[in-house]
């Protein structure tokens, strides 16, 4: 098979079968890219995961671009990315229509209203997990608490809750301030 259609087909499958976000996509990407086609070595795949975590954007899209470029240059990146988002666009568009059509139905609303607390709970659990990973980078223990991270978190909370600052500003501020503080503590302590 030609390389570009193969890339498209592989990433279409990744887009179609990864339900539940980035961590669900990871094993699928590995199966296609490392095991089935040898487009990346296992070491390169580990690098891809690291890069994906350090850069913005969904891991499937990051992976599609990274693999596409290495296999077939810019056209490869475009084709692989298209393949990976096409199932989303088609399926979710149908859902958007269904939602718009039935939204005002009483029964539909009753069902949806049970989803809302669960979604808030899922976001809370994801946030708490991230917070614990930031506060205790070496695993949870009293000595393991990272005081810089705690300071950044409390400062960010204050900016968001009390002064209603924009999240984008808060994220970049904590990045810049964090780098400076970590650098200083490493240099002088």
């Amino acid at each position: 098979m030609n390389l570009l259609p193969q890339l498209f087909w592989s990433f279409l499958q990744i887009g179609l079968f990864s339900i539940g976000g980035g961590y669900a996509a990871m094993p699928l990407i590995q199966a296609q890219v490392v095991d089935a086609h040898n487009w990346l070595s296992l070491q390169e795949f580990a690098d891809l995961v690291t890069i994906a975590e350090m850069t913005p954007g969904p891991i499937a899209v990051n992976g599609a671009t990274f693999v596409g470029i290495r296999v077939a240059g810019i056209p490869g990146a475009v084709i692989a990315t298209l393949g990976c988002i096409l199932p989303s666009i088609l399926i979710v568009s149908v859902l958007a229509y269904v939602y718009k059509r039935w939204r005002n139905l009483r029964t539909f609303q009753d069902v949806l209203s049970a989803l809302r607390p669960v979604i808030v709970a899922l976001i809370a659990a994801a946030g708490l997990r991230l917070l614990l990973a930031a506060l205790f980078p070496e695993g949870i223990s009293l000595q393991g608490l990272d005081p810089v991270a705690l300071l950044l978190f409390l400062g960010a909370m204050l900016l968001l809750r009390k002064w209603k600052k924009s999240p984008v500003l808060v994220i970049f501020l904590s990045g810049g301030l964090g780098a400076a503080l970590y650098y200083l503590t490493e240099a002088f302590l």
Partner: protein, 201 residues
């Protein structure tokens, strides 16, 4: 004609073209700042589209999150497609999807040419370490504001669902899909009970 223009502009400023431009730019900006998975983008979208621009209400945003989470594909792209349809129909959907995909594609294109050097840069690692605390704060801030609203109506039902879902999600490796399906089931049962109760004279 004038009236329809007015109602359009009442929903977030400017005509349709203006809104599409805003939608595209905000999708770019939000996507470029989403470090750390699908839930982060949803919380940024909520702040922008619900709190600032008033294009959606809070309930819609939560429903979209549930739909985006339980559909195949990246949560960020799914959520962008839903918001795009709502704000600007088919062109809105395409622009929102493009805006969401463009930043990671451009950044990864650059990085894949010299990735080993990038990952080893100590300054990059320190910035990212600091950002993690900020991202956690952004997510928990949205949880606090969304959580408060849940206890205005069906207090007990919502509190039980919230607590059970939180514990299962935090303490076990149960896939998100099962939690969402269980919630749909619970909602369905409750919808039937409510319907029976309403039909009774």
């Amino acid at each position: 004609m004038i009236q329809s223009n007015r109602s359009e502009s009442g929903k977030g400023g400017g005509g349709l073209e203006n809104r599409l431009a805003k939608l595209f730019l905000n999708s770019l900006l939000i996507s470029a700042c989403t470090f750390g998975g699908g839930f982060v983008i949803v919380t940024l979208m909520k702040r922008k589209y619900v709190d600032e621009l008033h294009w959606l209400d809070e309930g819609e945003m939560l429903d979209y999150t549930a739909l985006a989470q339980s559909s195949p594909g990246a949560i960020a792209v799914n959520a962008a497609v839903l918001v795009g349809w709502k704000v600007g129909g088919l062109p809105g959907m395409l622009l929102a999807a493009l805006g969401t995909v463009l930043p990671p594609v451009l950044i990864l294109t650059l990085i894949s040419y010299f990735y080993a050097a990038f990952a080893a840069m100590p300054l990059v690692a320190l910035i990212l370490k600091g950002m993690r605390a900020g991202v956690a704060a952004v997510i928990l801030d949205v949880v606090l504001s969304l959580g408060g609203k849940l206890f205005e109506g069906e207090k007990v039902f919502n509190a039980v669902l919230l607590a059970v879902a939180f514990l299962l999600s935090f303490l076990t490796n149960l896939s998100v899909i099962w939690l969402i399906l269980a919630a749909v089931l619970a909602g369905g049962v409750r919808a039937l009970i409510l319907k029976k109760r309403r039909e009774r004279p």
